[in-house]
């Protein structure tokens, strides 16, 4: 093998090796039990969001019911684990997600054969209907769904390999990390196959696809089935992670969460849903430490992204790729200049947001918790106690909101001029 192909291979595999190393050392960087739990949830969400993006971003199918495949696979997994443990079948926990994947694939094929006949709005509506159907049967079919308690299981009861029983969270972390990496690699590889490219063609123009020999319905069907497979693996890992499968796994909130994660990260780029999954997981865990009404802020974030950054976080990042041209010194200095401009804009933005949040929290306190008295712990921090009966915090919040907004507005031309200068500079040194 020549040096050239060696370095090309290293380049294409390098990123995966780096990702594997990162996953290996992450639990040592963030070593608390809580962060291990968070990372496990993030890994599961990454697989789930990427599987969702096989539909939305790659094939142009808006599904409101992707949790069906995630959740049903979680139940099949919990039942399988119980059955394996009871009968002493020598299959290690490491391979159990295969069961979830097969279950997801099965339900993907089953429901997909109905729902993928149409694209666009019809598909979206059918996905919503199927999700409701499955969720309501979860309340009826008690032996499979286990009613309100769900189906619990014990991951330590399966065959032990090399003495690992997957009791400690750190062992589960490595199990989830390995499956996450495998699924990400596979889903990325899928985008670079004849099928993957025809998915993009179906997203762009399903009618034209019919006139180049492909059946767009069949492309959608395969995409849907494979998305079910990967959603199934994610659901399976979720059941292993909390040793429980419950009805909420197939519910609308779960379907909504994956849509939000994909959209916030950006559906146009492969990495988008990965970023979105990490952010959504972090927010849903951390925000509740600061506010009871964290879902409201979550919704505001979603709306802000839809309005101002329709390509999501990955879109924002990719906009900066155009500055990455020419000599390395120029690249870094351009990005540093931009970063400086962002910091200048961020200061009034933070003041504006702080004013808005204080206002929202005080309104919430006064309207919902008047019985607790006028004193409120802002952001649930006792050292930030605010007297909602006094006019001062109200006036302060309003001033912060409006002054922050106008100052923020004032910084936009500066940011724009730095942006354009850097762009002109990049174009000069790139050509």
């Amino acid at each position: 093998m020549s040096n050239n192909t060696m370095s090309a291979r290293l380049k294409s595999y390098g990123i995966w090796i780096a990702a594997a190393l990162l996953l290996l050392i992450l639990p040592f960087i963030f070593s608390s039990g809580a962060s291990h739990t968070t990372m496990c949830l993030a890994g599961i969400m990454i697989i789930f969001a990427l599987s969702y993006n096989m539909l939305l971003g790659q094939t142009g199918m808006l599904s409101f019911g992707h949790a069906v495949y995630y959740g049903l696979a979680a139940f099949v997994t919990a039942h399988s684990m119980n059955w394996l443990a009871k009968n002493g079948v020598p299959i290690p926990l490491l391979l159990v997600p295969v069961v979830g994947g097969v279950a997801g694939l099965f339900f993907g094929i089953l429901f997909g054969s109905v729902s993928t006949r149409r694209g666009g709005t019809a598909f979206a509506m059918i996905s919503l209907g199927l999700a409701e159907l499955v969720y309501s049967s979860s309340l009826i079919l008690r032996s499979f769904f286990g009613g309100e308690e769900g189906i619990s299981t014990d991951r330590t009861k399966l065959l032990r390999v090399f003495g690992y029983n997957f009791g400690p969270q750190i062992q589960v972390y490595y199990l989830i990390a390995a499956w996450t990496l495998l699924c990400v690699v596979l889903m990325y590889a899928l985008t670079r196959t004849p099928f993957g490219r025809m998915c993009n063609a179906v997203r762009e123009n399903p009618e034209r696809v019919e006139f180049v020999g492909y059946n767009p319905q069949f492309v959608r069907f395969i995409a849907f089935s494979l998305a079910g497979l990967f959603a199934g693996i994610a659901g399976s890992l979720a059941a292993i992670n909390i040793e429980l499968a419950q009805a909420s796994f197939v519910g609308a909130a779960q379907s909504g969460a994956v849509l939000l994660a994909a959209y916030i990260g950006g559906v146009a780029f492969f990495v988008g849903p990965i970023l979105g999954a990490i952010l959504v997981t972090l927010l849903s865990i951390k925000l509740s430490d600061f506010s009871e009404i964290w879902l409201l802020y979550f919704g505001i974030l979603f709306i802000t992204i839809i309005l101002f950054a329709p390509y999501g976080l990955s879109g924002l990042l990719m906009m900066h790729a155009q500055f990455w041209r020419g000599p390395i010194g120029g690249r870094i200095s351009r990005l540093l200049k931009l970063l400086g401009a962002y910091v200048v804009a961020a200061i009034p933005a933070i003041i504006m947001i702080a004013g808005a949040v204080l206002l929202i929290e005080m309104i919430h306190h006064v309207s919902q918790k008047a019985a607790e008295g006028p004193m409120m712990h802002f952001l649930r921090r006792p050292y930030l106690t605010v007297n909602t009966a006094s006019a001062i915090p109200w006036i302060g919040a309003l001033i912060a909101l409006f002054a922050g907004f106008f100052a923020f507005r004032f910084t936009w031309p500066t940011v724009a001029s730095v942006w354009h200068k850097a762009l002109a500079d990049a174009q000069r040194s790139g050509s």
């Binding site: 196959t193 123009n205 492309v219």
Partner: protein
């Protein structure tokens, strides 16, 4: 000579409106056949029937003798008939290269394969490159198709149509909206790509029609009133009356 496309008593009704009123036509294998007629005569509808976009109300369509009536567009395409569209119909956010490659894949037998790396398919790459050079867009390969100029998009449309190697090609007004010099380019391209194939072309530009066609069919108000060689069509009394008369109202 064998017939490539044969239409028998083809009829298409939309509700109560009859657009195609009993068309029979025999297009010989290897000929360049033009379909002309005034606006609203049903030319595009005829293409939509032959390519499977619409189902005929009655009558039948045969491709190399095989009855393809009622087949889906992709089934007809796999049997070697490919068409272009009057209104540009491409994959706007995919690159020019991807646009052509999508049209190459099925003909090379890769179908829905999700286990092969597309960038390593040498035959697909070579064919895509060949088509790009043929339509003179090799230097535009990486550009999203949606930002191309109108004439370039029309050329890409033809490229997508021929990329799969179909032996019967239907072009729906390929030069519409083009300038004189763009039209000349397009005609040269059409001549080149239809070499050794069967071409059916809808065209309003009579210069193009008489330059290109071996035979011409005149469609007026859903019926073919004449099919003949260009010189004879020109002198055909019925054509002059009906076609020129109707065209005069445009």
């Amino acid at each position: 000579m064998n017939s490539a496309v044969e239409l028998k008593e083809l009829q298409k009704r939309f509700g109560k409106t009859e657009i195609i009123r009993g068309v029979s036509l025999d297009v010989k294998s290897g000929e360049r056949h033009a379909v002309i007629g005034p606006n609203g005569a049903g030319k595009s509808t005829l293409f939509n029937l032959v390519s499977g976009r619409f189902l005929p109300t009655s009558g039948s369509i045969h491709l190399h003798g095989e009855n393809i009536t009622g087949m889906r567009p992709f089934e007809i395409n796999r049997r070697g008939l490919s068409r272009s569209f009057q209104v540009t119909n491409i994959f706007p956010r995919l690159s020019v290269w991807e646009n052509i490659r999508c049209a190459v894949l099925w003909s090379k037998g890769y179908k829905y394969s999700f286990w092969r790396n597309i960038d390593k398919l040498e035959d697909v790459r070579a064919r895509t490159q060949e088509i790009l050079e043929l339509i003179n867009m090799a230097n535009r390969a990486e550009i999203p198709a949606g930002v191309l100029s109108y004439a370039e998009q029309r050329a890409l449309e033809i490229g997508i149509t021929i990329a799969g190697g179909a032996d019967i090609i239907l072009l729906d007004e390929p030069t519409a909206g083009m300038s004189r010099s763009e039209t000349e380019h397009a005609v040269a391209l059409i001549r080149k790509v239809s070499e050794g194939r069967t071409l059916i072309i809808i065209e309003h530009d009579m210069g193009v029609v008489f330059d290109l066609a071996d035979r011409i069919s005149v469609l007026v108000y859903g019926q073919i009133i004449a099919t003949d060689e260009p010189a004879k069509i020109k002198s055909n009394q019925k054509v002059q009356e009906a076609y020129l008369g109707a065209a005069g109202h445009d």
